[in-house]
Symmetry: C2
Subunit: 503 residues, 2 copies
């Protein structure tokens, strides 16, 4: 059964100190219902990542149904971390496509800005695998290592890549100027980007999406409308980043994309406009490559050439993306859908309108890319490919599902796959905190802390030592190992001394 999009709605993203999460969702939902040709819906699908901890309120699906005066209707919350909004859209799609309901309301939101940044970071970090989180890895630290792995895999120097990352930040901020729903509506300069604080080397403040309040909504219906959802794919990956075969790309985006393209009978060449999950600037390049929109390993070059700008051949994030529109985690995926629908309906500011866009795609990442959703939305009258046509998307990769446990024996040699210098580490960790991914010669990948806070070279030979539950890595060389042993002994003495004093 075909599933069409009726009205869409959204509240301006940003800080809403006086509003509750539910009231933001209600505003977005009311707008979507008012703009629908037929405003009766039969069920609600609600996306939110963690309203319990962000706001202290649970039961959000029933709360939204009640607040919008639709109590009685089925109302279900869907959660897949930061892609919850897109996952709610998917759940609503199945409910209509199965013939159970003839129209449903999908609404997603998150409220975060009332909490302090460390508190928000802590809540967001709950989606990280336990060992990696306990080693001090936050989302930005893992994203930084992914960025490094990308630059190493494709031989792009850090100096070269950061120019592209800067261009993405500038492009998305410029697009945001023309989007009344964006949190940031102000251009940034190259100077501002390069002067912005390093958060987790090589990622700066302007590489990261902000903390935001916001909500978005849309109505799905089986009645014919001008826009329809034609493809939908979801894919998960190992919770731990270190368990993945490849660090420089997201296999789960590729499996989601493969499903979505095949369901829609489209391929990357058909996509006119895309909203890509740029929680960190580098994710926009990796995402576009995973989706087959840009050539593998050359995405950064396409950015430099302006191909992803509104006037380019494959405009990405004309809305400003997560970077400028803001990133209320559970809402972002659905906000992307709303932006795509508005692009197809030509309802956006002329400066960010992609002319003649017929096929749009949204790409939403949950967690550190372990629960991703790709959705293809198109104008209903878009010509379909002939029956003989086969979609051409050739980037899915096999996910290695089988776990190799962390090695129990210490003192292994290996290669440093990526590392980061985290300047805002979680509570209880020293700043700066240097974390690295090491592939040992036994074939295990380990997340380790540097024994000393120095810089490294990705690809260099390192030594890993285990102390209690933590792995430490250091440069392969006599002095480093001696230094580590000495520092360990000193730490041991200090600990014993402390205990004695306490006793």
């Amino acid at each position: 059964m075909e599933v069409y999009v009726d009205g869409v709605g959204m509240v301006p993203f940003g800080k809403h100190p006086d509003r509750s999460l539910v009231s933001l969702m209600v505003d977005a939902a009311r707008e979507a219902l008012q703009k629908s040709k037929q405003s009766e819906v039969e069920a609600l699908f609600v996306g939110a990542m963690n309203p319990e901890e962000f706001t202290g309120e649970g039961n959000v699906a029933a709360a939204v149904a009640d607040a919008i005066e639709l109590a009685g209707l089925p109302s279900v919350r869907v959660e897949t971390a930061s892609s919850s909004g897109a996952a709610a859209l998917a759940a609503g799609f199945y409910a209509v496509a199965s013939g159970t309901y003839s129209s449903v309301l999908v609404v997603a939101g998150e409220k975060m800005t009332h909490l302090s940044t460390p508190k928000v970071t802590k809540i967001l970090a709950e989606v990280i695998e336990g060992y990696e989180r306990n080693s001090g890895a936050s989302m930005v630290a893992l994203a930084a290592m992914v960025t490094q792995a990308y630059s190493h895999r494709w031989g792009v120097s850090h100096k070269r890549l950061e120019k592209s990352l800067c261009r993405i930040a500038m492009k998305n901020h410029r697009n945001g100027v023309f989007n009344p729903y964006a949190q940031f509506r102000k251009e940034i300069t190259e100077e501002q980007y390069f002067n912005s604080r390093m958060i987790s080397y090589p990622l700066r403040l302007y590489d990261c999406a902000p903390i935001t309040d916001g909500a978005a909504a849309l109505v799905l219906t089986k009645e014919k409308r001008d826009v329809k959802v034609t493809g939908l794919g979801q894919g998960s990956d190992t919770l731990a980043v270190r368990h993945r075969t490849h660090l420089h790309m997201f296999a789960a985006c590729r499996s989601a994309a493969a499903q979505a393209y095949s369901m829609a009978r489209r391929d990357p060449r058909d996509v006119d406009v895309a909203e890509v999950h740029d929680a960190f600037t580098c994710f926009e390049i990796i995402g576009a490559e995973d989706l087959g929109l840009l050539d593998e390993g050359k995405g950064w070059r396409a950015v430099d050439r302006g191909r992803t700008e509104v006037g380019g051949d494959i405009p990405i994030n004309p809305s400003g993306g997560l970077k400028a529109r803001g990133h209320p985690v559970g809402a972002s995926g659905l906000a992307q859908a709303v932006e795509i629908v508005r692009q197809l309906r030509e309802q956006v500011d002329p400066n960010i309108q992609v002319k003649g866009a017929r096929v749009g795609l949204l790409h939403s990442i949950g967690g550190l890319a372990n629960n991703n959703t790709v959705v293809i939305i198109e104008k209903s009258d878009t010509p379909v490919h002939p029956v003989s046509w086969e979609p051409r998307y050739e980037r899915p990769v096999e996910i290695d599902r089988h776990h190799r446990p962390d090695p129990s024996r210490v003192s292994k040699e290996g290669i440093l796959d990526a590392y980061t210098i985290l300047y805002v580490p979680p509570e209880g960790f020293p700043s700066p905190l240097v974390l690295g991914m090491v592939t040992t010669y036994s074939g295990h990948r380990i997340l380790a802390r540097a024994a000393a806070p120095t810089t490294f070279k990705v690809g260099e030979r390192v030594v890993v030592e285990k102390e209690e539950d933590t792995f430490y890595f250091m440069r392969y060389g006599f002095t480093q190992r001696v230094a580590f042993r000495v520092s360990r002994t000193l730490r041991g003495w200090r600990l014993r001394l402390k205990r004695r004093i306490r006793l």
Copy 2:
């Protein structure tokens, strides 16, 4: 498209201090997959109410897919408070029925026993509407008021009703003895029931389902199997209990039941065995009445006559129900489905096997009955009704969706609809805490605290006064009002004195 049930799995419910939530879910899922004829699945649907706060781990859908070595597959979490397991089943159903996937794994779980009871109660209370929660209402307090409203509505004296509640507790504990998956496998006596501690008058400890760890799983497929899901309904209600037209029944269960019966083309007479959400014993009576299984207002009598026992004409909770099997909140709805499937497949202990059961029904309540799911599961070869046949279920009630705000003027008279004496109030409230629902003559229903901790008579005339944000109620009479004024004045003096001392 028809949706069949393949393998089912479950871990024994109870305390699992050494296990993580994900590992419990993996065990249940592995069993379901092993028992499936075709163990390949294409997607996962995960039910859990609040793993973030219970266990500190988010992203549970991706975590489960990864832990069961199915990383790569789409995996989505579904949440509707304590009915999350049943809602995950519904989401899986839509995904298969829409033709998107040919088979999916549904798994649900919760881990709670490692936390202290006050901490668990606090997390569970997040699903209660804000004003009611801030007035000191916990789940048990609201359930106690519902119980009182039931007894008042149908003119059953408290003494009479508590005998039936005792019989339900005894029946479910007796059934639990024969269920290897039950948390409590020990009969209780009438004496034990009546000697058990009063938690929130009129509910005793043995009226309440316990705190439990557990997980359940099943595989849904479009391939023909011996059991299929034929009906499914979901319904929400106002978040605030005081906003409901009727306190003595759950309108949201009725709308869910109406959908399920109509989808399955069945009616209450066809149901051979039912798993009813007995988080509190009285909910089993109210649930059975809402579902049309027992006559309205006479459910308690049917219980007394043994009609709901395994040998009775409408066996309810042969598994022991939430009372004896345990209530790991997010898992319970799916565990009910597993129990029903095992009943239909005659895989349970002969002492609790309902002979010749062909049509089973499960009823799962989310929050204080504001997000409920009803599912009908039957043997695939059950004769279908002729086309001319119309399902006969005549209990749906209109839900009043429009909010009447709490009155701003104080000192109103009204009628006491229900009240409770809560002996384990939330932190910061005096014990015992007396809470009441009052319908004022202006037509508003108010949740208020008693000005003095005395007993009341449901239906009596009371006076409501507002002090700061809290409503207080007292018996309609000169002395009470004077006493309240005096106590208020004294409290004011005490407060002012305190402030002066601090300054």
